[in-house]
Amino acid sequence: MTAILPRPRGWPSILLARARAADPTDLDAALAAGAFEGLRRAIRQLGPAATIAEVEASGLRGRGGAGHRTAAKWRAAASTPARIRYVVANGYGADPGASTDRTLLETDPYAVVEGVAIAAFAVGAEEAFISVRTTATEALRRIQAAVDTASSRNFIGDDVLGSGVRIEIEVRPVQGAYMLGEETVLLKALDGKRGQPEQRPPHPATRGFRDAPTVIQNVQTLAAVPWILRKGAAAFAAIGTEDAPGTILVDVRGHQRSGVAEVQLGTPLRDIVALGGRPRPRRSLKAVLVGGPTGGILPAAALDTPYTFEALRGAGAHVGSGSVIVADDRACVVDLGRLLTRYSADEACGKTIPCRIGVRRIAEIGERLTTGTSRAGDLELLTDLAADVVGSGLCDHERLATLPMLSGLRYFRDEVDAHYLRGECPAGVCRPISLGVPAAARTTRGRGAARPVPSTTAARAQA
């Protein structure tokens, strides 16, 4: 199990509130802590429409990475005429380096079960799925135990809380590539089909699993819903920022410590990095990778960026998997960008051609930079290619996959130029390093001398 990082006093706790419970699958202990009160209030007092209104008033946004408004999805699914509707909890946790969703499923499985049940009640779904990565065995065991216990005590099942409402929840272990975390891919995997994204619209909320309206939501999003119904939308909206209320789980890999922590949205990146401890002696922070394999590489100067969906996007990163990885001055930003882009290229599903080929070409530019074999014009090619790839894909992967190289170019221009123009790696990570000859003169295929990219091209690619 992943460590949970100690937090400063006074930080609110919603998702990890029960992290210290002796046995998270003990229903009586969970009930004593308020579990299933939210579901009871939704069914006995509010009814579906008022439940959605309450979630809307709380301002809850999806924790799966993009930050879509939760209530809007629910309303779309509820208002689409259909005989059957579904709810799917996305607990896949695609990023192998982040265990936020897994930790939530391990420490508070009842919150996820209750959140799924409330969502199902609000949109009128009778069947729901909780999908978890097959390798997360402990999370799977606990969520399965929670579903079994809750249904044996009628918190879910044929007759929820004696109200006649039917909500069946099935835990589905799923296994596949990175792309399986994407919503339309997950829906296909649940149906046993090959995992490739679908054209949208129609969004899953209007036409998803087996063509029925489907609400697909990250497990953290769903686990916040019981708290909102129990404590009220206003209490939730008071936490975090006005535009992005509430808390979110981050997976910090810091200078000294690594683990999962719960932070308010809007917390400055500096405070999140601090959870992982200070730099080791004689070392300093060089870069922070925010957002997992497709994240942005941000410099120390960007540490004041608040951790919100919009601010991170503006800075060239994204919330993504919630991963925050600190690199000190030993790391080479170009090497890191190359590695991440290669991973993204290998994981691209291949359905959209600009993503399939373009990201691979970007990865190759990164490889040429790190091996000192850059061709003249490579950086122009990188920014041009990135600008062309973005917006061409069926899912968002193609845009995100360009972030590591583009943010490296944006913030660490000197280091990139050292690789490109002089074939040197200032951090001494990449080999071969300088041969004392400008890179462009060494390549036979170069078209003219290597020169810095005009900043306008770089700016266009960033926009």
Binding site: P96, Q175, K193, R194, Q196, R330
Partner: protein, 222 residues
Amino acid sequence: MSVLPGLVPGLGLVKGMALTLRRFFAPKATVRYPEMPADVATKFRGRLQLLYDEHGLLKCETCFQCAQACPIECIDMGGLDTKGRFHVHWGPPETYGERREESALRRSGRTVPDPAYVHFVPFDLATVDEILEAHNHDPKHMLRILEATQAAFGHLPVAAMKRISERTGAWYATIYGTATYYGHLRFEPPGAAAQAAEVSARRPSDDTYLAALGASVVGRRR
């Protein structure tokens, strides 16, 4: 009566040189593509060949969009793809021969002699049929059907997948695509350990990615 060729020594040579000379002074037919579009037959469909990149890997991603789109399921792919997966094609080489023979039969009613063709090994279809029966022949349960087939045979034999396609009505390309997508399904007998090792060396797994990330973050030399 014309002079019989062969009777006059050197006549063939003269004729050959005359042809060469005519061609030499004829206007050049080179087309400056793409400034001038080439004049190609309307049924031309490009170069029907899968290309390799500089690492010797197929450029094809095996997305199978083409195979799934082909109405008569005539598209095959072979070799090692960019993700290092073997058996990108629809089965071992012998089934190629079989397919060629099949289609020749279908088109012309007679078989073509094909040196690459080895007869298909008899295969126990009853097991597959039982699995299909247990899953109601329902293509919606494809993943579970494939898993059960793998449990029975140790891997997914081509004949079994063909049978599944036949009986469930699902397209072979779709079934194959599903099977390539999931890491726990395999097309080779489990004994092919060397092959599996090569695949994992080429295909970055979560573990190799994490190890590389850890090394990169602390600036360890590659």
